[in-house]
Symmetry: C2
């Protein structure tokens, strides 16, 4: 299978926050996560890079290093097999990633079934926290909250978990790129079901964020909003049969129900049984 | 096999000259030509598109139409199998093209042998003439010289010729994207040989350009410069054994010699036996 993703300076990254190495690293990570989310093992990246005329060749080399190191760390055996270099007004990194399903069918977002356990492997809210802290404190955030800033600038999604989607016969899976609530809502809609997220189960991720920042920097309510609504976590969201033991590294976040409960008016996403807006509330939107 | 190419608004196309349909069509053509130049049959395109926030959705649809129609015309059986849409300050179209070699080894640029006949399938200079006329006459050029302008804005490279590279056992092949002289020089250098281009053989393409424009618009000398040095023809350049009958659609442009003739001082490219600058002279450079 094959996926593609374009990262553009400005909307997708800032060169005053990210090093060139991190830009390459993140681009690889995002694309590896897209492959992994379908249950495939990443095999090869093809990279098209657009750069302004005055770009230092060292920048291009560091981007290439970031791509290489990310593949080596997250998907050994996968590497950059081809590329193209163009002139562009800003840095543009477009990657096509290839994956091997080993003969299995790809896992899609549309197969969630009533009764399934919905679970996540990877971090939730940490990359969003990093972005918030960078927005508020600038470069100083890097030294003070390195884990959150690294999750934003050089994320480490659980690529190795891809194969367990196949072995544990996940009914549905996808990469969490636009926030848990929004992506869970998409999975539910594509499956024709409703996903109910549990605040109690999500408190695990709130606690993990609390380990990073003090109460004076972000309240519990703000951290829960980050877990639910902030993007770029690149965690794996998957739906498993309740009879299936969750694969290692997956933690439950909710359950799948039918949409026909009159009480919630046919919505695709609820939290603790009550309808919520998937776009939610983001405390420190850029 | 797989290749990738990024087209960026500004350096690679202008939205006041190209329609959105043509931008998509050309992007497909360039990528199909890259696949064909290795002897492969194009099987699938993956498209990442970056567009400014205020881009009309009709523009995106027309780009998609251009991609689809180009595949249908030049490589039936090949289509767009995946994509990604991003925000970007200008239009950016990054395509990864996949091709099937049917078990054969890819034809590379490095296999030309002494004694080979060097031949071209496709147009030479026509896309360059179109660019010159657009630069000089603007939109009016489109009505007056439609063939040349179309060769520039919606080129039709000889994708079907790809398979004959394999069947005719071409020793080397490449896509002519940066001008015949420059690309022949690259083939010669990669092969460790010298390619001698023949003015007499190239006069075929000068005559074809003369059918498009009168003497008062472009002189014979200017047309020869376009044939030799102008880019974006996306013709196929290939080197065949002299014992091999040239495949249909290929016309000879020169021969392969060794580099050790003292007379030409070890250069990789000559014309009628005399060294020339591969970057050459372009009468109406942008």
């Amino acid at each position: 299978m094959v996926t593609t993703d374009m990262m553009v300076e400005g909307p997708d990254f800032r060169t005053d926050w990210s090093t060139a190495f991190e830009i390459g690293y993140k681009a690889a990570a995002i694309n590896l996560a897209d492959v992994a989310a379908m249950g495939a093992e990443p095999t090869a990246l093809v990279v098209a890079l657009g750069a302004p005329d005055d770009t230092d060749v060292a920048v291009l080399e560091q981007i290439a290093d970031g791509l290489r190191v990310a593949c080596g760390e997250m998907a050994p055996g996968c590497g950059v097999v081809g590329g193209d270099l163009s002139h562009a007004p800003v840095l543009v990194l477009s990657i096509t990633a290839h994956g091997d399903l080993g003969g299995a069918e790809p896992v899609t977002r549309s197969g969630a079934r009533v009764g399934d356990v919905v679970a996540v492997s990877g971090s939730l809210g940490l990359a969003g926290l990093g972005l918030d802290l960078l927005s508020e404190y600038g470069e100083a955030a890097r030294g003070q909250w390195p884990t959150a800033v690294t999750a934003q600038l050089a994320p480490n999604p659980p690529i190795h978990a891809a194969r367990s989607l196949i072995s544990a016969q996940a009914h549905a899976a996808m990469d969490v790129s636009d926030g848990l609530a929004r992506d869970a809502s998409r999975m539910a809609r594509a499956s024709g079901q409703r996903i109910d997220l549990s605040s109690e189960l999500l408190s695990r991720w709130v606690s993990l964020l609390r380990d990073e920042v003090s109460q004076s920097v972000r309240s519990d309510e703000e951290l829960m909003a980050l877990v639910l609504f902030s993007g770029e976590s690149h965690a794996l969201l998957a739906s498993f049969s309740p009879d299936q033991r969750l694969p290692e590294g997956f933690f439950p976040v909710g359950r799948v129900f039918s949409t026909d409960s009159a009480a919630i008016g046919g919505g695709f996403l609820t939290r603790d049984g009550e309808k919520i807006d998937p776009a939610g509330w983001h405390p420190f939107r850029r």
